[in-house]
């Protein structure tokens, strides 16, 4: 069942102040700027942790809008959705509410790389997110445009180090103060829209551009390194104008599998799901692209675009003479539009029309809204801590495309984690980090803050070294318990469910292990299976032709209570051996990650034996842990040993100094090398 009944929207809208001058208070713990996937998760997470939170967005109406593709999840991305859900985030449940075509990708390739995915109804998704936010305690939503970020002058003792104090809105009202500000500006930071040869300021078609003040403050006052990236979106096609008979029908899974651990089924009934269609590009498409290159400024720019979500222009230019897939995806139950996945383009609208009509199924198609390109600023994410806080500016957190990522799921994951840490910062609680050994969110954040990005960053399962342990099926066991016990972003309802699941799985695994039979006896119980050298039920369940259901019917008295977990138990059995092997490696890495490096370390003049190259790398990246430092190219083991030795020595000196003159910071310094939480500087 869906645990959350959707409340009538109207009753909530009255709680929202439409203009900043009407908001009840001038002081919040956390202010979130932006209402996209990162901003909504951030605001909800901050409020869940217990912070008085304000979400500022240009239009309440566009909160939770799916700016690009009408889908959620996929291979790698689906893992992120499951993890966000396990930490009580919104997008998993919103996907279950708004999904109209569910499928598990990679079904034949092993549960570790299954990719839960859904096509979404744009309206339903937006409304679910809005109603969730507007009914979240401690969360206020306000319409407005942020004129500037308010920061203190740098501390004279630490030049270049600022502290955030709040924001000022464009309508000229009084500043709103907060301990933490989370910027989730997406493509709006100095965004430019491109179509053909025209260029206009903005981050999304139909929305006002963001204030130049924010961008200026980031660059000039805070001195942050800023880069530029580009992305694009395809034209939306009028469904009735497409000859769907000429495309391949692609049916969803039936029954659909929900994203959320709290849901046993989706809102959409199996038979109500809508299909997708697959078509291919033709040589004509390539011709149109070639002929219109001179009319296409976006493609001529040198800002880095994603290699894995390229425009049709870059696809045919990089791989000429091949046919490329184009998926036609439904935009919603009542929508009369189709979304042509794979046809992101930036040429002038008349040429866009010519191009799509080169595809047989669309030979008479009409464009509802033309595609366009966006170029936008991003903040080089190596300037962030693993809590997603800007290292040089206390209280300033960044999440989503502003950190150089692409994709809803990547944005949601960062938003949630930035929200958690912004709230904890405001409430004077220590920062929390997720390791890359325990979650895809950890992989995402670690890759961003310790390696940086050169192109829009997207999650792939191949980025996760411990992919066989970080599966979509066990995200709750990995994160929900920690989310409640250590992080504080999980409701007790969800926690209790996770505890029940964990305990039941433990019991079931113990029951399986206690089923010890000789080979002839196994033969009697499971006559169709050829079993050799199996010791217990776990071993037998590993066999590819044995299911938990078969075992449960052979041993109903001890296994039937666990039928609801049959799939999870089967996966556990298959992966157990590999996960046990990985556990040692994981323990080793976690040990390294638990050793923090002070953020204010002067690597250039550090009195230890380090090469200039190593000093420069360390100075530029400022890894927050020794684990992160080892993953840097150009850092030798010897350099790490020298570094560690130095850190340990100063850690001891600090402790001695504080013992002689105690002050309230002692506890923090004490953890210099050993804290699992990264230190605010």
């Amino acid at each position: 069942m869906l645990t959350k009944k959707l409340p009538p929207l109207r009753s909530f809208l009255v709680q929202v102040s439409r203009h900043a001058s009407h908001i009840a208070r001038q002081q919040y713990d956390v202010i979130v700027v932006g209402g996209g996937h990162a901003g909504t998760e951030a605001a909800a997470a901050a409020a869940r942790v217990g912070a008085e939170t304000l979400l500022v967005t240009q239009k309440i109406h566009t909160i939770g809008a799916l700016s690009c593709n009408p889908s959620l999840g996929g291979v790698g991305k689906g893992q992120l959705v499951k993890e966000v859900d396990a930490l009580d985030g919104l997008c998993g449940r919103a996907g279950d509410w708004a999904g109209i075509h569910f499928s598990i990708l990679n079904r034949r390739k092993g549960p570790a790389v299954w990719g839960p995915r859904a096509q979404l109804d744009r309206e339903r998704y937006r409304k679910f997110i809005q109603s969730e936010l507007l009914s979240t305690p401690r969360l206020t939503v306000v319409e407005g445009s942020v004129e500037d970020l308010l920061v203190t002058e740098p501390n004279p003792e630490e030049p270049g180090h600022h502290k955030v104090t709040g924001i000022r809105l464009e309508n000229g009202s009084d500043p709103i103060s907060a301990s933490s500000v989370i910027l989730t500006t997406g493509t709006f930071l100095t965004g430019s829209l491109f179509m053909g040869q025209t260029m206009s300021p903005g981050g999304r078609i139909g929305d006002a551009p963001s204030s130049a003040g924010l961008s200026r403050t980031m660059r000039e006052r805070l001195g942050l390194r800023i880069g530029r990236l580009r992305t694009g979106t395809p034209p939306r096609i009028v469904k009735d104008s497409v000859d769907l008979a000429q495309a391949h029908l692609h049916l969803p899974d039936s029954p659909p599998t929900p994203f959320s651990f709290l849901n046993t089924h989706t809102r959409c009934k199996p038979e109500e799901q809508l299909p997708c269609y697959l078509t291919y590009t033709t040589p004509g498409v390539e011709r149109v692209v070639q002929e219109s290159l001179h009319l296409n400024c976006h493609i001529q720019q040198d800002a880095k675009g994603p290699r894995y979500c390229p425009s049709i222009e870059s696809r045919v230019l990089r791989f000429p003479g091949r046919k490329h897939q184009v998926w036609l995806e439904p935009e919603g139950v009542t929508s009369d539009l189709l979304y042509p996945q794979g046809l992101s383009m930036t040429m002038p609208p008349d040429i866009q029309l010519r191009l799509i009509r080169e595809i047989p199924a669309m030979h008479r198609a009409e464009i509802h809204t033309p595609g366009y390109g966006v170029q936008y600023d991003f903040v080089c994410p190596t300037q962030l801590s693993p809590a997603l806080q800007v290292k040089s500016t206390q209280g300033l957190f960044l999440a989503g495309q502003i950190n150089g990522t692409t994709g809803y799921e990547e944005a949601a994951a960062q938003g949630l984690w930035a929200g958690v840490n912004a709230a904890r910062w405001a409430l004077s609680m220590p920062a929390v980090t997720l390791s890359r050994t325990e979650s895809y969110i950890g992989v995402l954040i670690d890759d961003l803050v310790s390696r940086g990005v050169t192109e829009p960053y997207r999650m792939f399962t191949s980025r996760a070294e411990f992919r066989t342990s970080l599966r979509p099926d066990n995200a709750d066991l990995r994160l929900t318990l920690k989310g409640f016990e250590e992080v504080g972003c999980v409701s007790s309802l969800r926690y209790q469910e996770a505890v029940r699941v964990r305990d039941s799985l433990h019991e079931a695994l113990a029951a399986l292990q206690s089923l010890v039979l000789s080979s002839p006896n196994w033969k009697k119980k499971l006559p169709d299976i050829h079993i050799c050298e199996a010791k217990n039920g776990m071993d037998v369940l590993q066999y590819s032709d044995v299911s938990f259901e078969m075992l449960a019917s052979a041993f109903p008295e001890c296994l039937s209570p666990y039928m609801e977990f049959s799939q999870r138990l089967k996966i556990e059995a298959v992966y157990k051996r590999h996960c046990d092997l990985q556990r040692k490696e994981i323990a080793r890495i976690q040990k390294e990650e638990n050793m923090s490096l002070p953020q204010d370390m002067d690597y250039i003049s550090l009195p230890v034996s380090l090469s200039n190259e190593a000093r420069e790398i360390l100075d530029r990246v400022r890894p927050s842990t020794l684990g992160a430092a080892t993953r840097l190219q150009g850092i030798t083991p010897a350099a790490i040993v020298h570094l560690l030795h130095y850190v340990r020595c100063i850690g001891q000196k600090e402790r001695q100094r504080h013992r002689s003159q105690p002050d309230q910071k002692e506890e923090r310094k004490e953890d210099l090398c050993a804290s699992s939480a990264s230190l605010p500087q």
């Binding site: 790389v113 040990k591 790490i640």
Partner: protein
């Protein structure tokens, strides 16, 4: 690309240093990454502990939980272990083939009364390279055994509280020195035939992994033909067969030259080839007054005071328009990079007569000849080079004495020798200095000992081979676990050829496939 032979070394050190902060010593948690399924996860390490060179007895040591097993199966002690710390004369056999490798002493040191505090075994065997190689390879074939990383015995000893903190303070430097020695050793091998073979395997494995990963991450949305996996199947099969053949091949492709690698380098016409000829007491290299006579590397094996030395004469370092000579200079620089010891030869008649200027000239000369240092603020490690001022017969006696006296005052130039290859003046002193250098280098079991590197390579290749079997095992059942097999194989091979990161795999994916989602 530098082979990352030191992968995993430092973290063990990190662990050691950390536990020294007061927590009780725990079992050593070194990396078992890359250890494929099926190999035991216990951490037992082994190494040649004595130096090499001409010696009667070599000591091979093993430490860790599998030590007792090793002792039983290699010394034929099936019934009971020998009394602790008592030498026992046994036949030492290969546990697989049961072939007798040598007859020697075995010693059993049960924990905690051993050097490392763990169960330890020592084999005192005959010092010939064939015996040492055979014993090391036999040890590597026992499940759960692997060659020790640089400094690992020392770290374990510290871990068990067997060493004081001051000894461990130098751990970073120790690891640096040992990884440097391994790096040079590996560089030598990687530039040879064997290196090409491993690089080729690594390249093919990377492509296999990239293609499996592409199939996993993108095939649902993109046009990636099923044929991609069939190609991977074929490649994995081929690789398995090749690695297996290689492991069985006793010739192992090329002979690895044993001995301390000493390279003669310097400017043209400094008398490098004359020095080579003087040292080997025969005209191995052509000498002439024409600058640039030596163009290729001239190599000769020598015995210096009982230690094996591989002496190479190289082309004089200078900018030359001649293509052949330029190649010679490139080879010369490569040799210096791989050398254990470089003899920097200088024509002393070219030195400025003022002592200070002469010293600056020599410093500058060293910088131009020796490879750039990782630690620029420190002077060149004194045990890595020897400055040879040649042609003293052309200097007036009093100027020679003055030069000698003044240069001895300058730090950073020492050690240096004044010699004349023409009339052998100073040669005896030079040989004494050279002998002591070579002796020091031979005391380090890592430098110049190809057997150790061979054993290491063998262990990693065996792991690689086993991991590829995991791909085959899971290919049709669970592609994620199959990919894990290829990944483990690549990690094992990466211990020889250098680590491969996720980004590198993604680069191949994007180069080979049109990914659009």
């Amino acid at each position: 690309m530098l082979p990352s032979v030191y992968h995993g070394i430092w973290r063990a050190a990190v662990h050691t240093l950390r536990t020294s902060r007061g927590t009780p010593p725990r079992r050593f948690l070194s990396s078992c990454d890359g250890l494929p399924v099926g190999l035991a996860d216990a951490e037992t390490i082994f190494a040649l502990s004595s130096g090499h060179g001409r010696c009667g007895v070599a000591v091979v040591r093993a430490s860790g939980p599998a030590s007792a097993t090793v002792l039983r199966c290699m010394a034929g002690l099936t019934r009971s272990l020998p009394p602790p710390r008592t030498a026992l004369l046994r036949s030492i056999t290969d546990p697989q083939s049961k072939e007798v490798l040598d007859r020697g002493l075995v010693l059993w040191f049960p924990a905690p009364h051993s050097f490392t505090g763990e169960d330890c075994v020592e084999f005192h065997i005959h010092g010939g390279p064939a015996v040492i190689t055979a014993v090391l390879q036999a040890l590597g074939s026992v499940p759960g055994m692997r060659p020790a990383e640089a400094g690992e015995f020392t770290r374990r000893a510290f871990q068990a509280g067997k060493l004081g903190l001051t000894e461990v303070e130098g751990l970073g430097d120790l690891i640096h020195a040992e990884t440097e020695a391994q790096r040079r050793q590996a560089l030598r091998q990687m530039s040879g035939e064997l290196g090409h073979l491993y690089q080729d395997w690594s390249y093919r494995l990377k492509r296999c992994l990239a293609h499996v990963e592409a199939f996993i991450d993108f095939s649902e949305d993109e046009l990636i033909e099923d044929g991609v996996l069939n190609q991977v199947d074929r490649s994995v099969c081929d690789l398995q067969a090749e690695i297996e053949r290689h492991l069985k091949d006793e010739r192992r492709g090329e002979r690895l030259r044993s001995g301390v690698h000493v390279v003669i380098a310097g400017a043209t016409n400094a008398g490098k080839s004359s020095l080579l000829n003087t040292l080997c007491q025969r005209p191995a290299a052509i000498v002439s007054p024409i600058a640039g006579t030596t163009r290729d590397v001239v190599e000769t094996a020598l015995d210096i005071g009982g230690f094996p030395v591989l002496l190479s004469d190289t082309a004089g370092l200078r900018e030359s328009p001649d293509l052949v000579e330029r190649e010679g200079v490139r080879r010369a620089r490569e040799r210096v990079e791989q050398a254990d010891l470089t003899l920097v030869v200088v024509d002393c008649t070219n030195l400025p007569s003022d002592a200070q200027q002469a010293s600056a000239f020599l410093q500058e000369h060293l910088r131009s000849v020796l490879p750039s240092q990782e630690q620029p603020e420190t002077v060149f490690p004194a045990n890595r080079f020897l400055l040879v001022l040649n042609k003293t017969d052309l200097l007036p006696q009093e100027q020679k004495l003055k030069l000698d006296g003044e240069l001895r005052q300058v730090s950073g130039l020492s050690p240096f020798c004044l010699i004349s290859c023409h009339n052998n003046e100073g040669l005896q002193d030079f040989l004494t200095v050279l002998h002591s250098h070579v002796k020091t280098l031979c005391g380090d079991p890592l430098s110049g000992a190809p057997t150790l590197t061979q054993a290491r390579h063998r262990a990693h290749l065996q792991q690689c081979f086993a991991a590829l079997a995991q791909y085959q095992q899971y290919r049709d059942i669970d592609l994620a676990l199959a990919a894990e097999g290829v990944r483990l194989a690549l990690t094992s091979l990466g211990r020889i050829t250098g680590r491969v990161g996720a980004e590198e795999i993604l680069d191949i994916i994007f180069k080979d496939f049109c990914i659009g989602k």
